[in-house]
């Protein structure tokens, strides 16, 4: 398949792995931010090809994983209301809330629908004028433009039965939070390519300079990741700390101006809770006036009611790269994809699920 196969070429990947082996002189810990990158690393068995000096830790870039439990409870609450239609991307459905997931709500009769685009939810609202249609707007900078567009479109059409349950988060504040943690062990970052396609990487230059940390904007195919790691190792070995763009076939420094405009029109930056990590200042998006009336939490008058998180789930440490999934005592025993204690065990992009699905046994005894 064109644009895919050349980035999964065994010889090309091995060539880069050889360069890394020759360049590396001491241990380095590199964090890939995005869950999509984690998924590729585990799915392709990329770690098998790396020298033992290079340790990959997995970052907080799984939108499903960091969505706070309170918001899942709110989504479940909406789904169970008569007449409401709760639309969501597929991965969100299995994530446990305090008492149930959206799939459980569906089994109990709630109208929960998987959509592929927020515009599908707008269409549902148009076709069902007497029902409240809510889209669960989860994601990083990547999904924000389309979600903003859905609200903009609903406002233009006067679709007052459409609303958004907003759980949007931003990457750079999360990187900064990880770097500020006293026990941070990350030496370099692979920044999420698709987020940068939208947002550009200007903000990362500031981070790289202030924290003296190499950041490589990296794609999602095995060859991209190996190349990102190679560049990060080269910077670390030569004492540089710059932003490099490995994913130049998709990312420009300034990002996508049109996408940024629609996001700025509809959303404003706000403080946000991250599941397993806590509140990070100015790390999320919320609807700004005059779009606030499309906020589902306000429309349904949903108060934050005592959400309960599993005390045994170490997902916060996993999401900050402080623990590997298999270092959690519940991993693979009390916490499995069928009975997840935390979100990273659910989403296909969650680090725990990726380890469980692709390498659980291979990593036993590590």
């Amino acid at each position: 398949m064109k644009f895919i196969d050349e980035y999964r070429d065994r010889k090309a990947v091995e060539l880069l792995a050889g360069e890394i082996r020759r360049a590396v002189t001491r241990p380095w810990t590199i964090m890939e931010i995005c869950g999509g990158q984690t998924h590729t690393i585990l799915k392709s068995g990329l770690q098998d090809l790396l020298p033992p000096e290079v340790t990959l830790v997995h970052g907080p870039g799984c939108p499903v994983c960091v969505t706070p439990i309170e918001l899942i409870d709110k989504a479940v609450d909406i789904a169970l209301r008569p007449g409401a239609i709760l639309c969501s991307f597929g991965d969100m459905l299995r994530v446990p809330g305090s008492t149930r997931s959206l799939l459980d709500a569906k089994a109990e009769g709630g109208d929960v629908r998987i959509v592929y685009s927020p515009m599908d939810a707008v269409k549902l609202a148009r076709e069902n004028p007497h029902r409240q249609v809510v889209f669960f707007a989860v994601g990083f900078e990547t999904t924000a433009p389309a979600n903003a567009m859905s609200v903009w479109q609903a406002a233009r059409e006067g679709l007052e039965n459409f609303s958004l349950l907003v759980a949007h988060v931003l990457v750079p504040p999360a990187i900064e939070a990880i770097l500020n943690a006293p026990n941070c062990r990350v030496n370099a970052f692979l920044a999420p390519g698709h987020v940068c396609t939208v947002a550009g990487y200007g903000e990362y230059e500031d981070l790289a300079a202030r924290y003296r940390v190499p950041i490589v904007v990296t794609g999602f195919e095995p060859l991209d990741l190996m190349d990102g790691i190679r560049r990060a190792v080269a910077q670390l070995e030569s004492g540089r700390a710059e932003v490099e763009n490995q994913y130049s076939r998709a990312v420009a420094r300034e990002g996508n101006a049109a996408a940024q405009r629609i996001v700025a029109e509809v959303f404003e930056v706000s403080d946000r809770q991250w599941r397993g990590i806590g509140e990070i200042r100015a790390s999320g998006l919320r609807l700004r006036e005059p779009y606030r009336r499309f906020d589902a939490a306000e429309r349904f008058g949903l108060a934050a009611a005592g959400a309960r998180e599993s005390t045994e789930c170490l997902s916060g440490l996993v999401l900050q790269g402080l623990k590997k999934p298999y270092e959690c005592p519940a991993f693979g025993t009390k916490c499995t994809p069928e009975h997840p204690l935390g979100a990273p065990m659910v989403s296909s992009e969650g680090a725990c699920a990726a380890y469980y699905q692709f390498g659980r046994r291979a990593n036993e005894g590590n």
Partner: protein
């Protein structure tokens, strides 16, 4: 194991109600079998957990199987619920190494179904039965209130006769066996998904629904010592291999590069975040044969259009027991686990 802490807020594990994933062919369905059905009905034929039961009647060995079809939409590129209902049961018999002879068919029809639709389904069942050389010899019809069904549900059961001495089934699988995959994977599941979700591809993906007895018969006739056969329906290749690895306590190692998947199906999977290894097929199977006969088996299968892309995808190993490992395109390896629930399209 730590003491159970009653105040621990472990989320409700959906065990008090049936969820869709209980029918998905993955782990939850296995739990359902192990916790509800097997304890209730346990007997040697059922406990073998093969695609059908192998039974003795006088001197004859018979295979007996049943399957229900609830596909939505009823018509999809490459087939309809009628073809599926015949081919699916014919194939379950073929996987027992049995020549399919007779089928029964039960129809559950929803009030308001158009007669023309029923006629079209029945007509394609007849054609599929003719093509597979089976006769539909008994049946039943029920009609349910509007809203209580999805147009048509069909159950078929089938009887076939085993005309060789082999004991085909998971128990015959041995370390050293080759795993032969009979053709390209994922077309049926993606064809259904494309209609269901209104997705369009440049080249439409057509279901692979087809009867598989002839290629299986050709393997047997050529004297290939077939150890086990599995059709790759719900849960796809990954689930079939996992079932066998855990039933037989062997390892299975497959190579991604040796598993055929058509370009359009791969493309659709890339877009939707699905894995072709887990997608349902309705005209594909895996054969476990001694390594020495693997190339010969591929040669025999390739003569049939439905098995044109047959290939040796991997082999059975002694260790690690119960685990399926895939060697990726780039030479890394990963565990291929059984699916936990439905495959859900991912966010980005």
């Amino acid at each position: 194991m730590k003491e159970i802490n009653l105040s621990c807020p472990i989320p409700l594990p959906s065990q008090d109600r049936i969820v869709l994933a209980h029918g998905g062919g993955g782990k939850l369905m296995n739990q359902l079998l192990e916790r509800v059905f097997l304890p209730a009905f346990s007997n040697p034929a059922l406990d073998a957990r093969h695609d059908g039961a192998v039974l003795s009647a006088g001197n004859a060995r018979l295979a007996f199987t049943t399957d229900s079809y609830v596909v939505r939409p009823l018509f999809f590129p490459g087939g309809n619920i009628g073809d599926l209902a015949v081919n699916g049961t014919v194939n379950d018999l073929a996987m027992c190494g049995a020549r399919p002879l007779y089928l029964s068919s039960g129809f559950i029809l929803e009030e308001g179904l158009e007669m023309e639709t029923l006629r079209a389904v029945v007509e394609s069942m007849r054609r599929a039965a003719d093509a597979a050389g089976v006769a539909l010899v008994t049946g039943d019809t029920k009609v349910v209130d509007k809203g209580k069904g999805d147009g048509i549900f069909i159950n078929t059961a089938g009887i076939g006769v085993i005309e060789h001495e082999l004991r085909i089934g998971p128990q015959a699988v041995q370390p050293g066996d080759a795993v032969v995959v009979s053709g390209d994977l994922g077309a049926h599941g993606i064809a259904i998904l494309s209609v269901r979700e209104g997705l369009e591809f440049e080249a439409p993906v057509v279901s692979d629904t087809a009867p598989l007895w002839e290629p299986v018969a050709a393997l047997l006739k050529a004297g290939i010592e077939v150890h086990c056969l599995r059709d790759l329906t719900r849960g796809g290749l990954a689930s079939a291999l996992n079932e066998i690895a855990s039933a037989r306590k062997v390892g299975i190692r497959v190579r991604e590069m040796a598993i055929p998947v058509e370009e359009t199906v791969r493309g659709a999977c890339e877009l939707l975040g699905l894995d072709p290894l887990y997608i349902a097929n309705e005209g594909r199977f895996a054969a476990f044969v001694p390594a020495a006969s693997a190339e010969r088996a591929v040669e025999i299968l390739s003569a049939f259009p439905v098995c044109r892309q047959a290939s040796v995808a991997g082999e059975v190993t002694a260790d690690p027991a119960g685990v399926v490992v895939l060697e990726s395109r780039i030479g890394g390896s990963r565990v291929v686990d059984m699916l936990s629930g439905e495959q859900l399209p991912r966010i980005c």
